[in-house]
């Protein structure tokens, strides 16, 4: 009853990947990759996706906690708003970012005038775009775990004199670790594959804002073989990283 649909699900997800791998021109695999554009994009993707995960953990974890534990009026609305970037097609997300942080945007124009700082078309813009689309995933996943764990241990910690912050750090977080890891994996993967919002908000310049998916997108317009080859790199990198997640981190004693 359970294993059958599970196998079906795996097949459903893996068969297209196999087809993709099978369709990749493996002969000149390395040659196609030995270009500066690929090297730059790979480095940029690695940096920006890790930075994104970091940012998500830094601001997303507290947000999940607030949504799961603190009762305040309008919580349901905030929860909904926070998840919206998830449903926006990436390009629209990019448009929204431009509207907010672009040169003529709400905050962007103020930043430009006051500090002469412009966000678009910089690596920072890439990270911002990635975080904008990845953060909701992280928050939803972590909030789910925090809720299903309940607040019992938080109460116990309070009776022992622990403040909110200590309780969070020493009790709530360790108990929610498996969910946190899942959230990180989600955010990382989402960031690694993102290009719609990135191109719209940060552009597509090799070296500063061209990530692997942007490069793939560009190459799809030109050399499809190269695009497929680069896709393989993404695929392999993610399989390696995700398979490396030790069972130990995915379990609470």
């Amino acid at each position: 009853m359970l294993v059958l649909p599970a196998v079906l699900a795996v097949a459903f997800l893996v068969v297209p990947l196999v087809a993709l791998v099978a369709g990749t021109p493996w002969e000149d695999f390395w040659d196609r990759l030995r270009t500066e554009a690929v090297r730059d994009a790979l480095a940029l993707s690695a940096i920006t996706s890790l930075a994104t995960v970091g940012l998500c953990v830094l601001i997303g974890t507290p947000l999940s906690w607030v949504l799961a534990r603190v009762v305040f009026p309008g919580r349901a609305l905030v929860r909904a708003l926070v998840v919206v970037p998830l449903v926006l097609p990436p390009v629209v997300a990019g448009v929204a970012l431009v509207a907010a942080l672009g040169r003529t945007g709400l905050i962007g124009s103020w930043l430009d005038e006051s500090f002469g700082y412009r966000i678009p078309y910089t690596t920072a813009a890439v990270i911002i775009a990635h975080t904008f689309v990845a953060l909701p995933f992280y928050v939803l996943a972590v909030e789910g775990v925090l809720r299903s764990n309940g607040a019992r241990w938080d109460d116990v910690a309070a009776t022992l004199g622990a403040g909110r912050w200590t309780t969070f750090r020493r009790v709530t977080l360790p108990l929610a670790l498996p969910g946190l890891i899942a959230g990180c994996a989600l955010a990382w993967a989402r960031s690694l594959g993102e290009f719609g919002a990135t191109i719209t908000f940060a552009g597509n310049y090799p070296g500063t804002t061209q990530t692997l998916p942007s490069l793939i997108y560009s190459e799809l317009q030109g050399d499809v073989e190269v695009a497929r080859t680069i896709s393989m790199v993404l695929l392999l990198a993610s399989v390696l990283v995700l398979a490396g997640l030790r069972d130990r981190w995915l379990r609470v004693p």
Partner: protein
């Protein structure tokens, strides 16, 4: 940090309503049947039910019924709460569980661990310090939970059935350790228990809860001599009968005579009923009788008498007590009286 007197007047709607005071250094045994509200009372004092009324410890106000005073947060009340059911942190070792409180109260990491290790040693589980809760037996976990509550040097100690699940030997030892600790403890202790021995050996006063309200509050001697609820009567090993709403009669099972026929010398105190159980009690046999009036009374007989009368479960018997062998008393005025069943 010396805890002052504890003044409590709290209400947790539908579960408990209680007002009482205790002097610094006093140990108050909280007795009462299951569901009487003992744990709720402790949690309310700890602040886990939010603002619940008036709680004062010395000149510090923990909770105020008035809207103007804000309740002290749980983490700012210096309490040591041993939960019923332990609630050890599953991701921390026994040592880390115990060290958690002292650490939060400002001890250095090393000092907290040393303190925790000392408590575990005192409870004879020093060698299990590195184990996670799921690797401990029930009784071992219970000891860790008790150590965790004691290690924080609180102003008020709240112990919810601290000896539950402990083996006799350990319970004896722990009672000794706890008695010693409580002698030196300057704050108030609320000790929930189902064991008369705990009340007798550890407590100065007894607070009897029944269906959410205080049925009796007095010194241990008072309460055990003149119990007002069937539950405490059972704990004190006495029979208690309520004659009038404000008049109780208490007598020991050893003064009850048992007969198969109706007593002819007609003592005023006599009941007809059916034997429900016969158990050993020291060198005597103790028979429990369910009377026709719905009372549960006990009588102690010698094994020879039991054999002679051919008493067995379900046998109909007459119980009688001489008027001179009973103690009659009234609850003190103002006491919330809940009649035995």
């Amino acid at each position: 940090m010396a805890g002052g007197p504890l003044d409590v007047d709290v209400t947790v709607p539908g579960r408990v309503r209680a007002a009482f005071s205790a002097q610094p250094g006093e140990v108050v045994a909280v007795l009462g049947p299951n569901g009487a509200g003992k744990s709720t009372l402790l949690h309310a004092v700890a602040g886990l039910h939010g603002p619940v009324g008036d709680i004062r410890v010395g000149d510090q106000r923990w909770d105020g019924a008035a809207r103007t005073t804000r309740a002290l947060r749980v983490r700012d009340r210096r309490i040591g709460l041993a939960f019923q059911g332990q609630l050890l942190f599953p991701h921390l070792s026994a040592l880390e569980n115990v060290a958690f409180g002292p650490r939060r109260r400002g001890a250095s990491r090393a000092a907290a661990r040393r303190l925790a290790a000392r408590w575990l040693d005192r409870f004879e589980i020093g060698d299990l310090a590195h184990r996670r809760p799921h690797e401990l037996s029930g009784g071992q976990a219970q000891r860790v939970a008790l150590a965790r509550a004691l290690a924080v040097e609180p102003e008020v100690l709240l112990l919810d059935e601290p000896f539950a699940g402990l083996d006799v030997g350990v319970a004896l030892g722990l009672r000794r350790v706890l008695a010693q600790h409580l002698r030196d403890f300057s704050g108030v202790t609320l000790l929930v228990t189902h064991d008369a021995l705990d009340a007798a050996t550890l407590a100065d006063r007894v607070l009897v809860l029944d269906r959410g309200v205080i049925a009796q509050y007095g010194t241990t001697a008072e309460v055990s001599a003149q119990p007002l609820t069937e539950h405490v009567a059972r704990l004190a090993g006495l029979n208690v009968v309520q004659e009038t709403p404000t008049r109780f009669v208490a007598f020991s099972p050893s003064v009850v005579t048992v007969a198969l026929a109706e007593p002819t010398d007609s003592p005023r105190l006599r009941w007809h009923g059916v034997v429900s159980t016969v158990t050993r009690h020291g060198s005597a046999l103790r028979i429990a009788v369910a009377t026709d009036e719905g009372l549960d009374l006990l009588a102690d007989l010698t094994p020879e008498a039991v054999a002679e009368l051919e008493i067995a479960d379900g046998a109909p018997v007459w119980l009688a007590v001489k008027a001179t062998a009973v103690r009659r008393y009234s609850p003190p005025p103002g006491a919330a009286v809940s009649p035995p069943r």
